[in-house]
């Protein structure tokens, strides 16, 4: 059942569940953050509407900087603005920022320790028809390896909004990963949110839990559907929303592994270096447990509909169920 304490969207499992792009929550959050704090500024590299920065731009044109198609400039200018006390949010597609400008982010933001928020939209395979050049599947790895850099990947638009508001208050560099496609709304305005804390979204009504499913980003809905069907098949799971990849909620991961002994990680990203790797690093040191990794297996994407691609690259509901069943029969 859905965790009753979290006031999640009761319509999650309905056919007509509301669907909103995760990036929209960012756009709404940025507008509110701008109203709260005049030091919040926004920079964009010719993708203002796509990254939903247009809400902010319309309300605060004097605090919006259009840099053109120049992602290296995007983040280095943001670093300079942060040096003068601003809280810059700079957005582009994840493939270009942090894809193209990694060293600039490393030196001028992470090494310089400037509170710039890098917003990478259109991350993951679900960008769809644009094809492999535009599907960022490496960005979590690129960002989580940087000292000083925090990494967040919200599961829906409402969580993205809450994250944006909190990030506007933190003094640290951060990466916020967003998706293009409409995504089922999982949480509600009332769902508690603490930066850096992972929450159990799904748990069995009664009985022992057999597998822990750890999810980040927009695949949460598919993971919940998988968990529900598995329960009907007699396999009890817990689903953990790990939207904060760095800082990572070590305690939540270890306690889930202690309880379930078996883990499946789910992310729309290369398996190498992503959230699953972060989980594996923690469990290998603290509580070794068998893990199955749902994600892209060392391949580039291609054109297709988001659903086709998620299925093709083995990240759909049935793939998640299969991974759960596979990890169940692994020896401990």
């Amino acid at each position: 059942m859905l965790n009753p304490n979290l006031k999640l969207n009761p319509k999650i499992f309905n056919e007509d569940v509301e669907q909103v792009p995760i990036r929209k929550g960012f756009g709404q959050g940025l507008l509110i953050a701008g109203e709260i704090n005049k030091n919040v500024v926004a920079l964009c590299a010719d993708l203002t509407e796509s990254t939903m920065m247009n809400f902010f731009k319309e309300k605060f044109p004097e605090r919006f900087v259009e840099v053109g198609v120049a992602e290296q400039n995007l983040v280095t200018v943001a670093s300079g603005m942060a040096a003068m006390g601003k809280i810059p949010f700079c957005s582009s597609y994840a493939m270009f920022s942090p894809g193209r400008n990694w060293e600039q982010i490393r030196t001028t933001i992470a090494y310089n320790d400037r509170p710039v928020k890098i917003v990478g939209s259109h991350a993951g395979i679900s960008v769809g028809p644009d094809g492999g050049t535009h599907q960022a599947l490496e960005d979590i790895a690129l960002m989580r390896v940087l000292p000083n850099m925090d990494v967040f990947s919200p599961c829906d638009s409402i969580e993205a909004k809450k994250m944006t508001l909190v990030l506007a208050k933190t003094k640290r560099p951060a990466y916020l990963r967003l998706a293009r496609e409409k995504t089922p709304v999982i949480t509600t305005e009332e769902t508690p949110f603490t930066l850096g804390k992972a929450e159990i979204y799904w748990m069995p009504d009664v009985g022992l839990v057999q597998v822990g499913i750890i999810v980040t980003g927009g695949l949460m809905h598919r993971a919940l559907l998988a968990a529900k069907e598995l329960e009907m098949e007699g396999i009890k799971t817990k689903v953990l929303n790990l939207s904060s990849i760095k800082p990572i909620d070590k305690d939540a991961i270890i306690s889930l592994a202690k309880e379930t002994k078996r883990i499946v990680t789910v992310e729309e990203h290369q398996v190498a270096g992503g959230m699953g790797s972060a989980v594996a690093e923690i469990l290998a040191q603290n509580y070794p447990a068998p893990i199955e990794f749902i994600g892209v297996q060392d391949k580039f994407g291609q054109s297709g509909t988001p659903d086709e691609l998620v299925e093709h690259y083995g990240m759909g509901k049935d793939s998640i169920k299969k991974a759960v069943k596979k990890v169940l029969i692994r020896k401990i």
Partner: protein
């Protein structure tokens, strides 16, 4: 601000002291860049002892001008100048590049918080200065202070530099003043052989900057160039300062091999000791004239 003959002499002595410190530091460190720091010593001297609005006793003074050093590898001149200005002791200069030092091989503000930026990888300083200038404009502070960016000629090879230039002119950042160290050398050789930059002034003009070309060792001319840059209202300014790499030590001057450590060049203690001797003789000469 006008420079008297007396002040110019004073600056010449300071610059010579700074060059001496640079050689002493590099000798002690056993590695690092020689030509760039020596070539920029006069410009750093002019800025820290005449142009900049700053307070070494209160390095984080909010109203200070900002000086972004883009080509971090010439930091020996930055450290030596800051020491002579009172930010740190001359003794500390000897720790350059050593374990535990605040004087990292390339500047890092985590260790020295009053540096405006950490730098090293080329081509990113201009954009950071542009961001600072835009922030000041948003806050209505662009009339109160200037954002200066010191950069090398070699880093014009980097695309990021031109991205920054485009945004600066788009925003007509009058509070941004760029100083280019046009010393014509980079690691692999002379700039015009590695990747030709000329006509450099025309390039900046085409990017809609006000361009001033000046000799990089003439305090009077440099000071006038800065004054002109500060007076230009409608666009950002770039001062292309023609400097002599290795300036002050005859043996090093104009020789790109002194850009950085080169295993093919036998860098011996004798070279540096010779340099020190030359600088001290020169220093004595200026002081006796003064």
């Amino acid at each position: 601000m006008f420079l008297t003959e007396e002040k110019i002499k004073e600056l010449e002595i300071k610059a010579n002291d700074i060059r001496t410190s640079i050689i002493e530091m590099l000798l002690e460190a056993g590695s690092g860049h020689t030509a760039g720091p020596l070539g920029m010593a006069d410009i750093f001297t002019l800025f820290y002892f005449h142009v900049l609005k700053h307070d070494p006793k209160n390095p984080e003074w909010e109203e200070r001008d900002r000086l972004v050093l883009s080509n971090g590898h010439i930091c020996p001149v930055l450290y030596a100048t800051m020491a002579r200005a009172g930010y740190l002791s001359l003794e500390e200069l000897k720790t350059l590049r050593k374990f535990g030092t605040r004087l990292q091989g390339h500047p890092h503000r985590e260790y020295m918080p009053w540096l405006e930026n950490s730098s090293g990888p080329l081509g990113s300083g201009l954009s950071q200065a542009v961001g600072m200038a835009i922030a000041d404009r948003i806050d209505g502070k662009d009339k109160d202070r200037f954002i200066y960016c010191f950069m090398s000629d070699g880093e014009h090879n980097e695309g990021n530099t031109w991205e920054g230039a485009m945004l600066a002119s788009k925003n007509k950042l009058r509070n941004l003043i760029v100083v280019v160290d046009r010393n014509n050398i980079q690691i692999d050789g002379f700039t015009e052989n590695v990747m030709p930059l000329e006509p450099l002034a025309d390039k900046w003009r085409a990017f809609n900057f006000h361009v001033i070309e000046v000799g990089g060792h003439d305090f009077k001319a440099l000071n006038e160039a800065v004054g002109e840059a500060q007076a230009i209202y409608e666009k950002p300014t770039v001062i292309i300062a023609h400097t002599i790499p290795g300036k002050g030590v005859h043996e090093f001057e104009r020789d790109y091999r002194w850009h950085g450590y080169d295993p093919n060049v036998k860098t011996t203690k004798e070279d540096y000791n010779m340099a020190l001797k030359e600088l001290r003789t020169l220093g004595g000469k200026i002081k006796s004239e003064y």
